[in-house]
Symmetry: C2
Subunit: 365 residues, 2 copies
C-alpha cells in the first residue's frame, strides 16, 4: 500500500484499491473454493455467481431497463467497431457517424469497411484537429439513418458530450472512456459499448448494452458465431468461455462503486476533480494552454494541455513522477500533457496534482 503511486494513465488505468485488495486476499482461494477464481470452470456455480453479480450491478448502477441485454464480451471497442456494422449494416441499412476524434474516426472507418456508402459522417471537427465537438447546427443527420453513432468521450483530444447530440435517432455509442462517470438515461441508446480498461476494470472485457429492437435488427446468420450479438445474448455471455478473471475484477469495481454511493456520488467526485483541474488551467492560462477550444466541451475524464516548451513538458512529467504521479505524458499525435481522471482517481489525487501544477507554474511561469 505504502508504495502506491497516483495513476493518471489513459488506459489501462488505475482501479479502486479496495477492488484490488479484495482480489489479492482471495487470489489463491476464492470464496472458500480452494481455487483462484481464474481456475474455476465458467460452468461452475461459484463462477456463475460472479458473472450474474457483474451483470446485475451493471443494471443497477446504470438503471438499465429490462428491454436491454447486458453482454460481457472480448476484443475491446476495436472488435465492437467491426461487430456493429457486421451485425446491423450489411443488408442496406444506413447509419450516421459523428467523428469527433481519433477513436470516433476509427469507428467510422471500420464501419465503412463493412458497409461502404451506407454509412456517412454526420459531422466532423477534424479540420479543427478535433479540438471541439460539433454544434447542434453542424449535425447533418440522414433521415434514413437507423442510428447515429458517437463517441461520448474523446480520450485523445479531451472532449466530452455533456449533452448528447441533438437528434431523435437512436444512439449507438462508444463509451469506453467515460461509461459510468455519471447517471444518464439509457433509453435513447440502441447500443452502448465500452472496453473495461478505463472506468470499469482490466483490459480484455468489453461491456455491451443492447436494446432489444437493436438485437432484433441483427441479420447475421452467415457470420462466425463469436461475431453474432444474438448468440451472446441468448447464451447470457456464456456461449464461449468468457474472460472470467476480468469479469471478476469488474464485479469488484462495481461492488465498490455501489458501496460509495453509486453513480451520483461518482459524478460529484468527478465534477470536483474537474473544477480543481480546469480551475488551475484557467488561473494559469498564460502558462498552461488547453488543447480544447470550447469550454463547454471539456472532458472530465481526460484533460489535455500544453506547457510553454517541450523542455518544460519533459520536466513537468519527470518532476511529477518524482512526486509519485505517473501517466501524464500526452498522446503521441498531440504531445503536451494529458491527465486522465477516471472514476478511480480520487479528489485528493487531483488536489495533489493541482498543488504541484501551482508550484510548477510559479517556478517556471
Amino acid at each position: 500500500m505504502t508504495n502506491r503511486v497516483i495513476n493518471f494513465y489513459a488506459g489501462p488505468a488505475g482501479l479502486p484499491v479496495d477492488a484490488l485488495k479484495r482480489a489479492q486476499d482471495e487470489l489463491l482461494d476464492f470464496a472458500g473454493t480452494g481455487m483462484s477464481v481464474m481456475e474455476i470452470s465458467h460452468r461452475a456455480k461459484e463462477y456463475d455467481a460472479v458473472h450474474e453479480e457483474a451483470l446485475a450491478l451493471t443494471r443497477e448502477l446504470m438503471g438499465i431497463p429490462s428491454n436491454f441485454k447486458v453482454l460481457l464480451l472480448q476484443g475491446g471497442a476495436h472488435l465492437s467497431f467491426g461487430m456493429i456494422p457486421l451485425n446491423l449494416l450489411r443488408k442496406g441499412r444506413k447509419a450516421d457517424y459523428i467523428t469527433t476524434g481519433n477513436w470516433a474516426e476509427k469507428a467510422f472507418k471500420e464501419a465503412k469497411l463493412v458497409a461502404g456508402d451506407n454509412v456517412r459522417e454526420a459531422a466532423s471537427t477534424k479540420a479543427e484537429k478535433f479540438a471541439r465537438l460539433p454544434k447542434a447546427s453542424e449535425l447533418q443527420i440522414n433521415p434514413e439513418a437507423a442510428f447515429v453513432h458517437f463517441t461520448s468521450n474523446n480520450t485523445v483530444e479531451g472532449t466530452q458530450w455533456h449533452d448528447f447530440p441533438k437528434t431523435d435517432k437512436p444512439y449507438v455509442c462508444d463509451m469506453s472512456s467515460d461509461i459510468m462517470w455519471r447517471p444518464f438515461d439509457v433509453n435513447q441508446f440502441g447500443i452502448i459499448y465500452a472496453g473495461a480498461q478505463k472506468n470499469l476494470g482490466p483490459s480484455g472485457v468489453t461491456l455491451v448494452i443492447m436494446r432489444d429492437d437493436f438485437l432484433e435488427m441483427c441479420e447475421a446468420q452467415d457470420l462466425p458465431s463469436y461475431l453474432r450479438f444474438k448468440i451472446h445474448a441468448e447464451k447470457n455471455s456464456l456461449y464461449n468461455t468468457p474472460p472470467t478473471f476480468g469479469i471478476y475484477i469488474l464485479r469488484n469495481v462495481l461492488a465498490y462503486n455501489k458501496s460509495i454511493g453509486g453513480l451520483k456520488a461518482i459524478e460529484a467526485n468527478n465534477r470536483k476533480k474537474g473544477e480543481l483541474l480546469y480551475g488551475c488551467l484557467d488561473k494559469h492560462a498564460g502558462f498552461y494552454k488547453s488543447f480544447v477550444t470550447e469550454k463547454a466541451d471539456r472532458s472530465l475524464m481526460n484533460v489535455d494541455f500544453f506547457l510553454p516548451s517541450e523542455e518544460l513538458t519533459a520536466t513537468f512529467v519527470s518532476e511529477a513522477k518524482k512526486n509519485g504521479m505517473v501517466g501524464l505524458k500526452g498522446y503521441r499525435d498531440i504531445g503536451g500533457i494529458r491527465v486522465s481522471t477516471y472514476n478511480a482517481v480520487t479528489v485528493d489525487n487531483v488536489k495533489t496534482l493541482v498543488d504541484f501544477m501551482e508550484e510548477f507554474a510559479k517556478k517556471n511561469g
Copy 2:
C-alpha cells in the same frame, strides 16, 4: 495455501500455484511501479517487458523458428474458428477439416459458414460418437486443400493425436487443450491456436502461432481490423489494448514451466500421470469403463470413464469432493466422469485420485 483443492476442471483449470503466488504478492505493486500490472498502460515500458517476455518464453519453450509470428489475441478458440476462414478461405482457397469431437466439429461448422463448399471433412468419427480418432487409411485429403485442420486433443471425448495426422499438407490446429504438454516440431504447422485457459493461463487470452507463408496468404483488407491476423502481426499484438493481466499470468505460468525444466520435464510428468490413471482404469476395467475405444488414442489431458450407475457416478463426485478433489463431473453430452489432467495437475494430485479410485472400486465393485 492450506485450503487449496485438487483441481480437475476441464477449463478454466488449475494453474501452477507459484505463478498465482507471484501474482498475489505484487497485485498492488508490480515490479516497484506502485501499480497493479493491470493498471499500467499497454504502451508503458513496464508492461512491454511482460509482453515481450511472454512472447519470448513461448518461442523458447516450444522451439518456434523465426519464420513464425507469435500473437496474443482475444476471443478464445471460438473467434479463431471464424478468423481463420475469414482471413484465408473467402477467395476460393480450399481446406480440409478432420472432425474428431465436439470442438473439431464447431471449427468445421464455422469454416463452412464462411467458406461453404471450399471446406470439406477429410474424416469424421462421429458415427462412433468420436470415441476414437480416424486411422491414417480413413483420411481423405483433397489434393487441392491448402491445409488440413485438426484438433490435437479432444477435450470432451478424451482422445489425443499422439502422432499427428498423416498428410504432407500444412496443419492448422486447435491446440487449446494440450498446447505445451510436450515438445514437438512446429514446422509442419501453418497455424497453431489455443485459448489459454487449460494449459497456459486464464481465459481471455488466445495464443496464435502463424507461419509467415500463412500470414502472407491472408487476403482480408475488407475485414474489420481486429479480425485481420496481419495487423496484429505487424503491431506485435499491440494494435489494440491486449488483455494485459491475462498475458501477465501467462508469463508467470511460462516462467514457472521453464524453471521446472521446460516441456521435456512437463511431458515426463504428463506421461506418469497417464500411466497412473489409465493403469487404474485397466486394472478395474469391469468397474471403470473407458469412453475411448482405442488405447492408442487415449488423451493424457482428459480422461473420460463411466461407473456402473448414475448413482455411483454421483457418489464418486461427491466423495471425491469431500476428499478435496473437484471438477470431475463428465461433460453434459457424455456423462460419467472426466478427469482433466492439464500441465498444472501434479503427479501427486493424480496419485491421490488414483488411491481414491482404488478404494472406491473395492468398496463398490
